[in-house]
Symmetry: C2
Subunit: 355 residues, 2 copies
DNA sequence: TTCCTATTCCTAACCGGTTTCTAAATTCGT
DNA sequence: ACGAATTTAGAAACCGGTTAGGAATAGGAA
């Protein structure tokens, strides 16, 4: 019924609706928004015209005229990773439930692109710009991000850092983080308690806050347990299955005394498990493996992966909740969500306890 | 340097830039867009003012004034699933490389919400609206989607159906599909060739094109191999690990003659494998299992999953490529990407071949 | 009946850009 | 040195809405 062949060829404007309903343009606007008294009879005339013409407002015109934008921008490394995907889901779900639309951008791990994208978002006048994932420990980067926080704030928008440390007290950016360092601490303690004394940490990214914090927890646990830590056991590598696989193969030919591997990520752990299986190393009898994230398939790996649970979806949800609840000019919010270890089957005491 | 404390409090407009540079507003616009001759000296004055004021254009104003929107809308069930996540990545990557931004919406599998969201996208004037995933076989649904295709087309936008069948020749919507039916056919043929005669298909969604097509391939293979198909072996269930787990447990107590399970999805297959492991059924010795999608962790399940590879990322990329390359008013594009089976370790001949 | 107060709607101004059209300033040929 | 061609810049109109600020019409009290 609606398609209206005759007056097609162009999307109808509010003017067309006004003409058809026999009222003025502002009346149509008010009837639709409902923030101003309009006689019932008039309103129904307007609504009928809207239906007949199949009219929808022009979001850009509305945004330009001052009504709020109803848009939340969302920047991640790569939607593909389970980590990001679940945060994305949290963000999208919460945003949608508050009647907002999501603008998505990916950076593919390039700090330069991340900055460029945040800049792009300024053009869009999003209510909030949520940057997800680890930050980079680089002065130039930090400085520019701080600058963007101020620029967005000035423009009535707001920056949210999700899953990375704060930029400082005086920067107008909300931070939604999770217990990253203590999650790594707990897992390392778990391994040390089981009797492991030579543990490799696999997947340190240089200057990426995500791994820096985890390594810090790894270190602190060693210190608390009085176990000396060999720094060469903190191996670099990106957060991928391939990296986990490769680094593990190298590790196996290089050192035979390692009894446990703490992977920076469950994905990395999957690669580790694969390399160990190929090499005929039994997990957990000959080698314990731990991950981080608790992705959906962590329990389906063989053996089921012992890992650190991160409330990804809640992180996303909380980010938009905080951003939207904040009064203009109010102090930036802050939240830290908890993590805890999930014990499954990939960790056991080492075959020959060292002490 | 840029923050400019003095004239802050408001985002600068093009008018401010013009005033500061000592030129008219249109001149600033032209200097920035570069589609009109501007004297080098003037241009640099303008650029300097832009830098000093830290000016960025207002995307809404620009969109309203007629310049193209540079936005692509993207509608999926749930970003969390590997299937959608990879398509999303393809879409985002290609969109970004063509200088477009992505608008993301999720429907959580609700056809009503999907329609509502497409409607919402009309307000946004996106260049293209890409709907991802299976369509619903429901007359009301099909009719409204057809109507939206027309409405979007009329408004200068364009609908792309990604991963679902076309709406018909005369509907202005581009279709980017994959060999779904023949992928299922190939996998079923693979199972039949191995000697299986009683195969369960697990994860049929009622009226969802994704599964309908797969079931069709499942049927056709049985017919070609002259193997009678017991319809009660086509089990319903959503695309989740939990569903795979539950249905498999039920199946095991109900029928003992099934020698292979074809899961609608790798995620479902993960649940199937888990249920079988719990029940002490050896895979592939006692039961063969096949999946569909070839998600990243498919090779890391135990045993490594034999599955059908779907080029998710390419689907996403091709969707935006087709949408953007299309001339206004040109006939809607169409593409079908190939699938192929990936043989790993979860399928073997049945213990007691039946014929 | 008259005056006053609510209602309800319309006219006008504005949001921040882009584009067409016109005028001024320059360059050029001769 | 003069008129024509060519750049370059500005004025005005427009994109599609929203939000004050009046004017008209209605209803109620005196």
């Amino acid at each position: 019924m609606p398609p209206k062949q005759s007056d097609s060829e162009k999307r109808p404007t509010i003017r067309d609706v006004a003409a058809r309903a026999g009222v003025s343009v502002p009346t149509v606007s008010r009837a639709l928004i409902g923030n101003y008294p309009v006689a019932p009879a008039t309103r129904s005339k307007v609504l009928r015209a809207v239906r007949e013409l199949d009219y929808v407002v022009n979001a850009h015109a509305r945004a330009l005229a001052g009504a709020t934008t109803k848009t939340i921008a969302f920047i991640v490394d790569d939607v593909t990773g389970p980590f990001y995907a679940h945060i994305a889901r949290g963000v999208e779900t919460e945003a949608a439930s508050q009647g907002r639309l999501c603008l998505l951008c990916t950076t593919h791990g390039d700090p330069e692109r991340e900055l460029a994208v945040v800049e792009l978002m300024r053009e869009q006048h999003a209510e909030a710009v949520i940057v997800v994932g680890g930050g980079y420990d680089d002065e130039h980067y930090t400085e520019r991000m701080t600058y963007f926080a101020r620029a967005l704030d000035r423009a009535g928008s707001h920056l949210v850092l999700c899953g990375r440390p704060s930029l400082g007290e005086d920067v107008p950016a909300t931070t939604v983080h999770y217990e990253n360092e203590s999650g790594a601490y707990a897992m390392t303690a778990h391994l040390l308690s089981a009797g492991h004394r030579t543990i490799a940490y696999l997947g340190r990214g240089p200057g990426l806050s995500t791994t820096d914090e985890r390594v810090a927890g790894f270190r602190r646990a060693h210190a608390d347990y009085g176990v000396p830590l060999d720094d060469t056991l903190i191996l670099p590598g990106e957060f991928s299955k391939a990296a986990g696989y490769d680094r593990t193969q190298e590790l196996l030919e290089w050192r035979s005394d390692v009894t446990a591997i703490f992977a920076a990520t469950d994905m990395v752990a999957a690669g580790v498990l694969r390399a160990l299986r190929k090499a005929g190393v039994q997990v957990p009898q000959d080698m314990s493996v731990a991950g981080f994230d608790d992705i959906p398939l962590a329990a389906d790996l063989t053996p089921a992966l012992t890992t650190v649970r991160v409330p990804h979806e809640d992180l996303g949800r909380e980010s938009v909740r905080l951003a939207l609840s904040r009064e203009q000019g109010a102090p930036a919010g802050r939240a830290v969500l908890g993590t805890h270890i999930v014990v499954r089957e990939s960790v056991a005491p080492p075959r020959q306890p060292r002490d």
